[in-house]
Point group: C2
Chain length 264, copies 2
């Protein structure tokens, strides 16, 4: 069995002080994808950057304290690639991928936006550039006999079942019609939304709750963290859970880990 977790840690240094390391020590995952590390490798304590028993591949942003993604693997990767070949995003700390046996795993932190801002324009440009890359990646991996898994915070809820307050958020960044369509086009290009495929008929499970108000207590969340798998891998998915409880005792992120087990 291959177990993969993905979680936006909202600042790895802060998360490490509050419970992330205990979660990591207890997880049975073989691969962990992290987003919003928000630190350069040199700013991280050794046991946070390279935890005992893991290989780690980090991609940080040129802007200090922003974004930052990583992939932790129990197996030593045969290759690590930072970015996806589009100049604007090469040093933005938004994508890193590693090659494992029969598998390419990417950790993605898609830009978050606000309607009418330059941040949203950046998100739009990222989406436009990333879709062709996904297609190309799948084709190249297939030629090498590898499946593809892109985990991360996509900052888009796909459908009404993917956020509690869908009615009031129809004009909100992250649930705009064109963003939803774009994510749909990802799922139509040979990739599967693994959690939704295993749980087609439920609301959620949400993976992000605002720190404001009582969003977490009321489970007023969004499902914006996905495991997006090529079809061969998606067919092997057996269980999928959002580890909401992982952040119960002391909440160490506003996101919860999304964990999937794939048959060998």
């Amino acid at each position: 069995m291959l177990t993969v977790s993905t979680v936006n840690v909202n600042g790895l240094r802060a998360a490490a002080k509050k419970g992330y390391l205990e979660w990591l020590a207890a997880t049975g995952a073989d691969v962990v994808c992290l987003q919003e590390v928000r630190a350069e490798p040199g700013q991280l304590a050794d046991e946070v950057r390279d935890p005992e028993g893991w290989h780690s591949a980090h991609a940080h942003s040129a802007v200090k304290g922003r974004s930052g993604v990583a992939v932790l693997t129990r197996e030593q990767p045969t290759a690590v690639r930072v970015g996806f070949g589009v100049e604007e995003f090469e040093h933005s700390g938004r994508y890193v991928e590693v090659e494992l046996t029969g598998l390419v795993v990417g950790s993605l932190y898609l830009p978050s936006g606000e309607v009418g801002t330059e941040r949203q324009d950046e998100k739009d440009r990222f989406m436009a550039a990333f879709l062709p890359y996904l297609v190309e990646l799948r084709e190249k991996a297939a030629a090498d006999g590898r499946e593809v898994l892109v985990c991360g915070d996509w900052n888009i809820a796909h459908r009404q079942a993917d956020l509690k307050s869908w009615k009031t958020n129809q004009k909100s960044a992250g649930f705009l019609p064109y963003e939803r369509e774009w994510l749909g086009s990802v799922f139509e290009s040979g990739y599967t939304d693994v959690v939704r495929a295993l749980h087609p008929d439920v609301e959620g499970p949400y993976s992000w709750w605002s720190y404001r108000g009582k969003a977490f207590d009321n489970d007023s969340g969004w499902r914006i963290d996905y495991q997006v798998a090529s079809e061969g891998l998606a067919a092997r998915a057996e269980t999928a859970v959002v580890e909401r409880a992982a952040t119960y005792a002391e909440r160490w992120s506003d996101h919860a880990p999304v964990t999937v087990e794939y048959r060998d």
Copy 2:
């Protein structure tokens, strides 16, 4: 008896959460001078800005989160004046004074500097401008039959006895020869350093300890908070203490209150 306290609170909002309000409720002072309020009045909770049983006069900086001084009095002032008439410092939140019966009390936050920086130039300009004001203030108050008391963080240690590490700080801002001479000229212009006058032969008592390292535990401090009184008032000073213990249990500032009792 007239009891006056002065304390640099290093952020009144933070101090209020950590013990300042309890200290204020317990103090027997008639007048309390505050420095480094670091908030506009509108940013302060009512009970912090205008504590029950006190009249308050605030002067905040045009730059948010910087400086800010206040005077709390049990007696209602007959006048409140912000600044000392020098344009550069009129909106800097560094000086406010109130008129009481037979007394003018000012709360001063003299700029802190670093050798070779524009901040130090600003400190120099402030010193140059403030000394003539002190002379004028004393003369005008005398004509009205009032004594003068200027309390605050002067950001200068006068003599070797006024800081623990005087040997290693001879080229440090706050203990530069010309700063010490300037403060000496204040004390020669008809004002008295009340705490030193009552305790001429002791090291300290220090009123500020860096938050860095073990400065507080080692009493490696500086005496930079003064009560500077006109001669008639200085002659009435009976006791002077630095309330180091006030910040023991939970340290609510890097400075401690300096409290003096004056006979009626």
